[in-house]
Amino acid sequence: MRLLLLILLSTFWLQSLSRNITVAPNSSVNTLTKGLSIASNGDTITVKSGTYKDGNTVVTKSVTIIGEGNVIFDGEDKYEILTISASGVVIKNITFNSAGYSALKDFAAIKIIDASKVIIESNRINNAYFAIHVSNSSSVTIRNNTLFGTPKSEQLTGNGIHLWKCNNALIENNRCTGYRDGIYFEFVGNSVIRNNWSEKNLRYGLHFMFSNDDSYFGNTFKNNGAGVAVMYSKRVKMENNHFQENWGPSAYGLLLKDIADSHINGNTFLKNTVGIHMEGSSRIDIQKNIFKSNGWAVKIQASCDDNNFHQNNFIGNSFDVGTNGTMVLNKFDNNYWDKYEGYDLNKDGIGDVPYHPVSLYSMIIEQNPSTLMLFRSFTVQLLDKAEKMIPGATPENLIDNKPLMKSLKL
């Protein structure tokens, strides 16, 4: 009992130690730098509303920085605004405008280096080179931020949320528009990305490189230059995301390159040029996804093996599956294909004739794109029908042996 009292008292004492420092435009402490200089670890700095043009501010103490009202930190297109290299820093409710651009350094509105347990919450970042740049940090939380950029070219624009060599990060409820990659992960492990909205970015909505054991769910990736790319990673979980309207000659809803042992569950792929493009990927479980109105629902290169597509809905796609070879090491079973024309005599809901998702014409178009002119013409339909009867050019083994008669309720 006495010990408990002691602990309780000591926490009160500790709490009373942490001071509250106020930064306001017309007071003696009129910049964040001044505020930081008199602060010590554990303090809270409240910034009153106003515009602050203070160049670059380096945070080396574990402080909580909270904006009150309309707080704007302006980088005047010259400076990196906030550099954080202390652990336990919290940045909340602040607007960052016009961070500078540098070809040599990756200037960012908020940069976090060698820190842990940093929380970036409810901020707004307009027109930065990189919006939030995190490197070599752990347990960083980035939540409820709105990142808005004016994209120039791919070289002159940075990423919205950029993580390099991090672990246990949580990226949640952010909105990212107009950067190069909405969210970029390189050498990031055990992290979660959820409920973010990434739209109209120049390159990818989400870009994964060499990042193992991560998961992302409930995100929406819409109308990005090339969709979402997941490359050279293992054990990635992708669930309940929306991949939407990623259009262009090399745009994909989801691009998988050298991915292994991953799960793709419950996602919706709507109106993409290619729903999923797979290259050199192995042991991926693709289940309960909806592929709707895509150009190609799935393009699977012959370099993929042991991938399992089951219980997916393929509805209204121009082409269901495209491939570049006759080698098939992947399984397609128990999917619903709206183009399936077979019958079900024993009424068990599974078609009695296997379905060939690769049409002859999708292979012809792959070789000679201008033949798209004849797509859906009577001649082409005859060709496709003939090929379905006697497969010659299309891979014979790429079949769904148990196609569903009715679409799945997903």
Partner: protein, 255 residues
């Protein structure tokens, strides 16, 4: 002229074939929308009807109508009416009844079940193809006096536009695949109203796939305002030019 067209229309409706055709179209499109789980599949089946059945019915019906009303035309020629006016009234009567049948038979189900850009482009293409093939039919039937020959020629025309032409194009696209063929695709498609109509619908239906083609030529050209203008213009030309020739021949013809 309107009066004469009205007689022609009345005559066509009385023959009941057009009513049967309307019913057929209505039943087929209605049941397609009812049967299929999603409307995009129904639209796809409708597309086939519009690209194959519609031109066939249009061209054959117009030809038969022309030959059947030959005596009526002769009678009218004995009246103080210009030849141009007589043939045009015949044409408008036929074209109006056929596109009316299409509009009721396919248009109503489409407007009910799939009132969007795909449905509307489908209707536009259907009406245009009906008129174009009626116009082609008039040219073919004016050229020959023999009914069997006339019908034979129209069937051949239908066969050419729906099947043979596409085969030829496929051949061209493959034998010259090393050349930048994207540039001649508008030309190739302009030479066949069925292809033009199909591409017009495809732009709405398969927009995601079309964006994937290396040059994105389809979206850039056919999808732009100029492209739409081009499609509409060329289709109008396909309706006007054969009719114009038919008029020329009919004016000089020894009836």
């Amino acid at each position: 002229m309107l009066k004469l067209s009205r007689y022609v229309l009345y005559d066509i409706v009385r023959s009941k074939i057009i009513i049967a055709y309307t019913l057929f179209l209505f039943l087929v499109s209605f049941s397609l929308f009812q049967l299929e789980e999603n409307e995009s599949k129904a639209i796809l089946s409708l597309l086939n009807i519009i690209l194959i059945v519609l031109p066939l019915v249009s061209i054959v019906f117009s030809t038969i109508h022309y030959y059947n009303s030959y005596e009526f035309i002769e009678l009218m020629l004995s009246q103080p009416l210009s030849r141009k006016r007589i043939l045009l009234s015949e044409f408008f009567g036929v074209a109006m009844s056929l596109s009316g049948a299409f509009f009721v038979g396919v248009g109503i189900p489409v407007l009910i079940f799939s009132f969007n850009s795909v449905g509307l482009s489908l209707l536009f293409t259907g009406v245009m193809l009906t008129i174009i093939f009626a116009s082609l039919a008039f040219l073919a039937s004016v050229l020959s006096r023999d009914k069997a020959k006339g019908i034979g020629v129209t069937l051949l025309l239908w066969f050419y536009f729906t099947l043979i032409y596409d085969g030829l194009v496929l051949m061209i696209l493959f034998s010259f695949s090393d050349y930048p063929l994207e540039k001649i695709i508008p030309v190739l498609s302009a030479l066949n109203p069925v292809d033009l109509g199909r591409i017009f619908i495809m732009l709405k239906m398969d927009v995601s796939a079309l964006m994937g083609v290396t040059s994105a030529m389809y979206q850039d050209f056919f999808g732009s305002f100029i492209g739409v203008l081009f499609t509409v213009g060329v289709m109008a030309l396909w309706a006007i030019i054969p009719l114009r020739f038919a008029l020329l021949v009919f004016n000089k013809k020894d009836i």
